[in-house]
Structures are given as structure tokens and as C-alpha cells.
């Protein structure tokens, strides 16, 4: 029985030692770094044809399909959730947890062990050493060094011997724990990611202007019920003046519950709408294929008069108030421009980059005439008589592309990020510093030996010790004169 127990213990220790080892950590970091490269070259979750074309560049047309099949079997086509990559990540987190548990007690012991006075020879063998002597009383020197150390936030202890004192002090001893804090934050990030995968979803929703939906989609066939209704009032792309560079993609969204409007917000890229834990992000936009219920929204103002807004169907007539001039929309282009070579008007894009309407005007006793009015160039809407017509929108023919996400783990990711930032800062910029000062003297002179060590950044600590020495020296001189 005893032997058996011992054997079990040995096996346990071996397994523990394996998972706690630095070698495993180094191996995993190398393997994760190398294997991650594959997924940045092979396009992930793409159509097979795309990757076969890519592979043909390296292996030739005839070999590419079979190479593709081997790669697909190895999980390269969706490698970051393949069994082997996830296993490496799992091993990485086990390694992280086990090595932290393995080392933490030792570090804790180091922190908790009280600092002890050192013999003069031991002080002299520390990485940083300084010496000084003063022509004044022993106690003055001791007090001033003690005060200076305290103002530098050191915890000072005192030991006295025959005709001598020793001040031994340290600060920031808990900074030695920072590395464990960083490790913990990585584990928390993994946990947050798992919560998100288990209890959240990532979906999308293409919502035409004026249309409402109470589901989002994870895939074309998989609906996710939202638990409320969302409606898109309008979608709009704004452009920088005189450029085709987009300035803003915006949608006005309305949340409807039990037939009542409960929330309305204009969302933009980087400024989403969240309701009941579900967030709607502006991700995309486009034009509908079928244009059955589009409304032209025109602002019409007679010369010198106020503007009136009209909502018009294709071909529906309107009158410029009080003028007898009537017009009707006879053509529409989502992106109108003049061809540089032929000078003819052409449509140069499928999206509403530069929407324009052709309006046919009729005036009693005059021949009809037609003119194009461009939304981004309002001056095109000024008629010969000074009447103004502006194209505000062609509403109902665009849809807004929404990214829909619910991630109940994201708060943990944010918390872990803050913890990691603090941990990294302490880990690299704050060190455990220890100073021993031996003060020995007869009636005339006092000899001071200073020794110091730090867990990191010796150079900066040496500067700090220099400052402590000069500060204390000044104070001592001040008191002895």
C-alpha cells in the first residue's frame, strides 16, 4: 500500500512538474507563434475555390486540390477553432495556472520573510554600494538617514550594536506578485471568451429603410430571436465635401416593444445601439434589388419663398407652390457623373455615392424640359426663375447592414484588460528595492556604508540611492553647523 501511494505521488509530481515547467511554456509559445502563421496565409472560413487558387501558386494546379484536402483535414481552413489549436491554447492555460500555483508560495514566502540586518562584508558585496563619512554625532547621522529613507517610502528597521547602528529597509515588496496578476488576467480573458461563446451570439441583420424585424441571423438559415422589434427609419451615407471619401455611415434605429417605441438612436460606425444586452453595430449598407416602395423626398422652394417637403413616388407630379410649374421624377441614378471622354452622363457605382434625379418640368404655354438634380451638388437644383429644388433622399431603396452581437463575457474581458495593464505596469516599472545602511563611528567621524539590491532596473535604483545619500548628507550638514 505504502509503495503504491508513493508511486502515485511520484506520478503526480512528475505530471505537475511537466505542467509547471518553463520548457513547456517556451515550447507552447513557439508552437503557438508558428502555427498561428498558417491561418494568416490560408484564408479562414472561405470558399474552397479561393484557397485552392492560392495553393495552386505554391504547389501547381494539379496538386492544389489534393493539398487542399490534406490541409482541410488538418483543420487549416478554420484553424483557430480546430481541435489541435484549441488543445494548444488549453495546454497554454493549464501551464499558466500550474506554474503560477507552483511558484506563488515561494514568492509569497520571499515577500513575507522579514528583512534581516547584514554583516558589513555582506553589505559590501551587494550590487550597489556607497560609502560616506561625516564629522558629527552618530545619532544625527542615523536619524537623518532614517528620515530620508522614510520620505522615499521605505519601511525602515533599526538594529543597534556597540558604537554602531544598522538601518535596513525595503519598499514595493508586493510588486513581486505582479507577474502572477498578469498570468491571472490571461486566464480571465480565456474565461471571458468562453462565457461569450457559450452564452452570447454574433449575428447580422440587413434592414431596409422603413422595415422592422424581431430576429437577427447567425447564418442565412439560422434565426436568432431578439425578444423585441427593431426598425430602421432611414440609412444615409455622408461624404466629405467635393470628395468620394465617406464621412459617416448612419442609420436611425427604433426599438419597439409591445407596439410602443421605447428607444430611438442614430447609430454610426464606432457608436452602436445597445438594448437588453444586444448591441447593433453599423457595419454595412447597400441598395435593394427590388425598388417597389421608394419615396423621393424633395425640398421645393419658389423664388424667395419658403421650402416645402414633398414625398413623391416615381412619376408622381408636384407643383412648385404658386408658380404653376409642375414637375415629376422621370429617372434616377445612384451615382451620376459626366464621362470624361464622351461628356455623357453615366452611373459609375451601384451604391448611392452621388444620387441624382431627372425631373421633367412643364409650364403652361412652354415646351417641357428635363434636368438632373444631384444631391451632393445643390446648385444643380436652381431653376432659371430662381426656384430651388433639392433632392433630400430617395427613401426606401437602401438597407442598413447591422452587426448584431450579444456578449455577456465582454465585461470580464474589459476587467481582465485593466488588471493586465496594471499588472504589466508594476511588473516592468516597479521593483522591490532593499537598502542596508551600516553606521559606525567613534567620537570624531561616523562611517556610513550603504548597500542596495533591487529585483529589476539596477541603474535607476543606483540613481535613487545617490539621491538618498546626497539628501541625507545635506540634512546632516545642516544640523551640525
Amino acid at each position: 500500500m505504502k509503495d503504491n501511494e508513493k508511486e502515485n505521488k511520484d506520478i503526480f509530481e512528475k505530471v505537475w512538474g511537466f505542467f509547471a515547467s518553463v520548457k513547456l511554456a517556451i515550447f507552447l509559445l513557439i508552437i503557438l507563434a508558428l502555427s498561428s502563421i498558417i491561418g494568416t496565409i490560408v484564408e479562414q472560413n472561405a470558399e474552397p475555390a479561393r484557397n485552392i487558387a492560392l495553393l495552386a501558386k505554391f504547389f501547381g494546379d494539379s496538386a492544389a486540390p489534393s493539398v487542399y484536402n490534406i490541409f482541410a483535414k488538418l483543420g487549416f481552413m478554420s484553424m483557430y477553432d480546430s481541435w489541435w489549436f484549441v488543445s494548444f491554447l488549453a495546454l497554454f492555460s493549464i501551464n499558466l495556472i500550474v506554474c503560477s500555483i507552483d511558484r506563488l508560495p515561494k514568492t509569497w514566502h520571499l515577500i513575507q520573510t522579514p528583512l534581516r540586518p547584514l554583516a558589513d562584508t555582506a553589505i559590501r558585496s551587494l550590487p550597489i554600494k556607497k560609502e560616506a563619512s561625516f564629522n558629527t554625532g552618530l545619532n544625527i547621522v542615523k536619524d537623518e538617514f532614517s528620515n530620508t529613507l522614510r520620505t522615499s517610502k521605505f519601511h525602515v528597521h533599526e538594529a543597534s550594536g556597540e558604537g554602531s547602528f544598522q538601518l535596513y529597509s525595503q519598499k514595493n515588496r508586493y510588486s513581486r506578485l505582479a507577474v502572477y496578476v498578469v498570468h491571472l488576467s490571461i486566464i480571465l480573458i480565456f474565461m471571458g471568451a468562453m462565457i461569450g461563446m457559450r452564452f452570447g451570439f454574433k449575428g447580422y441583420l440587413n434592414l431596409p429603410e422603413g422595415i422592422a424585424s424581431d430576429v437577427a441571423y447567425e447564418s442565412p438559415t439560422k434565426e436568432i430571436p431578439l425578444g423585441f422589434t427593431i426598425k430602421c427609419n432611414w440609412y444615409d451615407t455622408q461624404y466629405y465635401e467635393g470628395m468620394d471619401a465617406p464621412k459617416e455611415f448612419q442609420s436611425e434605429l427604433v426599438i419597439i416593444e409591445n407596439g410602443k417605441e421605447v428607444l430611438k438612436k442614430v447609430i454610426e460606425v464606432n457608436d452602436p445601439l445597445t438594448y437588453r444586452g444586444i448591441t447593433f453595430y453599423q457595419a454595412n449598407y447597400g441598395m435593394l434589388q427590388e425598388r417597389t416602395h421608394g419615396d423621393f423626398i424633395l425640398e421645393v422652394a419658389p423664388a424667395g419663398g419658403q421650402g416645402n417637403t414633398f414625398r413623391l413616388k416615381f412619376g408622381e407630379p408636384f407643383e412648385i407652390p404658386g408658380t404653376g410649374i409642375t414637375g415629376r421624377v422621370v429617372d434616377f441614378s445612384p451615382a451620376l457623373t459626366r464621362d470624361r471622354e464622351t461628356g455623357r452622363l453615366i452611373t459609375y457605382a451601384d451604391s448611392m455615392v452621388n444620387p441624382a434625379v431627372a425631373i421633367e418640368f412643364s409650364e403652361p404655354g412652354k415646351p417641357t424640359y428635363t434636368g438632373w438634380i444631384l444631391r451632393r451638388y445643390p446648385e444643380t437644383g436652381i431653376l432659371p426663375g430662381g426656384h430651388r429644388i433639392r433632392l433630400m433622399d430617395y427613401w426606401g431603396i437602401e438597407y442598413t447592414g447591422l452587426q448584431v452581437a450579444k456578449d455577456p463575457g465582454v465585461w470580464l474581458i474589459y476587467l481582465a484588460s485593466i488588471i493586465m495593464a496594471i499588472g504589466l505596469y508594476i511588473c516592468f516599472f516597479i521593483s522591490n528595492k532593499k537598502i542596508w545602511i551600516n553606521i559606525k563611528g567613534d567620537k570624531k567621524t561616523v562611517h556610513v556604508t550603504i548597500g542596495g539590491s533591487s529585483s529589476r532596473n539596477r541603474l535607476a535604483f543606483e540613481n535613487e540611492i545617490d539621491k538618498i545619500l546626497s539628501h541625507a548628507s545635506k540634512a546632516i550638514e545642516g544640523r551640525s553647523t
Binding site: V269, A405, Y414, A421
Partner: protein
Amino acid sequence: MSSSVFFDISAGAYIAAMIIYVIYLVTRNRTVGITATSVTFLGFLSQSAAFIIRWANSYTFWQAEHPASGVLESLLRGAPLRNLYESLIFFVWSIILAHLFIEHKYKNRSLGAFVTPIAALALLFIDVSGTSKELQPLIPALQSNWLLFHVLLSFLGYAAFGISFGAAAAYIIMVSESRTEKTYIFWSVIIGIFLIILIAMGIDFMSLSAAERAQLIQSHFLKTTFRSSSAGIAAASWAAGIALIFVLWYTGLGLKKVLNNLALTPAMLDDIAYKSIAAGFPLFTIGGLIMGAIWANSAWGKYWTWDPKETWSLITWFVYALYLHARFVGGWRGKRVAILAIVGFIAVIFTYLGVNLVLSGLHAYGSE
């Protein structure tokens, strides 16, 4: 004066400084050393002025387009860190800042000969890559408060990694005993590839018309040499490339004598490489990975999607995490960690440029 005048002054100053630092390496004349530092510092001041002027112009531009924006918002949106050109310029600024700091701290000018070439190469890259230098309007995806902090901290991190690369490269020469050592061969191949790509891009640049230059990276990258449609030119390019690596390998060890004559010691270089990584790692983790993830979440609802840019920054992180662990708890020392510092910076370059040149992803706007 416009920002481009100040920028041209600084570019000229850095290239001059590089030459003066090399002269200093050879002559070890104190006056030459002081001149090198002064020229670098002048360049730095001039570039800071260029940066501030560009920021001010871009602030005005944003205000004109968004009159409702407050001062703080316009400052954040106007930060000139929006595209390849602006971020590379900022990289140069950060690496020079880090260099001046180290020179002051270690009281040793020799490192300048290794750091100023990185800055000069980046400037040369900016010029030959033909990236647009115009003030560009901020597209919606970039209109976020995270832009400034994400790019700022990432690039300060990259600059620190750049310094560690310079120090590690110098370290390897100093400790190499013969040309047949694997580390030395590794060194010559890596430095050789850097030079070859830059020279090849320079040839691309010269062979293209002004209009085509804007598309150099996207559609003409190395097309006049290594990727030439003529098999003969491609073969000659490879031969010339290999020859250049050979020359570097053959003569590189001569640098050792120069370095040995200076006050530089391998221990000091090792210390600089480590300290730069110790400063760069938290900056890059917080600014690059964490802020990038938070920004992605607020823009797209996904904090991590394994797109190539994210994955390569994680690979970079793995390499530097490996460096720190191998050195602190794994007992790795000397050449092995120096190689890791070099590999880490290659990953940085690939994260920043390679992904945009070779791969594509959500960050494709960076290549404009």
C-alpha cells in the same frame, strides 16, 4: 512654413546624422560625436514641429467638416496617425526620441550608428513606397477616441522594439568569433534581406511613373526585379541578392573591430536590448493588443476575430513573451535571446507592413 518643409529638414538631418555617426564610429572624434547628436536633435525638433503643424492643419480640416465638434474631439480626430505615411513618420519620431534618451542615459554615442539607419530606412521606405502624403479625411471606421491612444502606444512600443533590434544586431557581431557561426550567418541573411528589399523597392520606384508610384506597394511591389515577368531579370535579381548577402557575410565581421574599439560592450548592448523590450512589451500589450481589441469591440462587436493583423500582433506578442520568459526563468542568455529580439522585430515589421502588403484583413485601410 508648411509641415512638409520641416519634415524634409528632419529627413535630411537624420540621413546626415547617420553618416556623421558612422564617421564618429571610425574616427572616435568627440567633436564629430557631438555634431552627430546635435544634428539628430535638430532633426527631432524639426520633425516635432512638422508633426504639430500637421496636427493643427488636420484639426482645422476636421473642424470645418464637423462644426459641432468640441476642441477635445477635434484634437483626437485630427491626430495625424491615420495611414501608412503618418504612422511611419511617427515611428521614426519615436525611435529617434528613444535613441536620444538612451544616448543620454548610457553616455555612449556609438549606438546612433545602428539606430539612425533604422530611421533613415523607414524614411526611405516612405519615399519609395509612394504612399500618399496628402492630408486625408478621416473615414468612419477610424473616427474613434481609441485611434490616438492605440496608434500612439503601439508605435512607441514598436520604436522600443526597433531599438532592441539595433542593439541585438550589434551584439551578435560583437560576440561572433567566425563566419561559420550559425548566429552570424543568421545575422548576415536578415540584414541582407532588409537591404535587398529596400534596394529593390528603390528600383521599382525609379522605374515607375509618378502616377504608378502611388500604387507601388499594392500592384508593383518588386515587379521590376524579383517578381519581374522576364525570367532573366528575375534570375539576375536573385543572383544579385544572394551576392549582396554573401558580401555582407564576408565583410560584416569587420564591423566587430570597429565596435570593439568603442566603449560599447556586449553586456551593455544586451542590457539595452532587454530594457527596450521591457519598455516595449507593456506598451505594445496595452496599446496594441488590449486597446485594439476594445476598439474592435466598440466598432464591430467582436474583440478578437483572428484576422491577419490581429493574429500577427499576437505572434509578435508570443515572441517577446518568449524572450522575457526564456531570459528570466528559462536561463537563456547571450546569442539565443539576441536572435529572439531580432525575430521579434521581424514579426513587428510583418505585423505592420507585411499584413498590408501580402495579406489583407479588417485593417486594409492602413495601406491607403
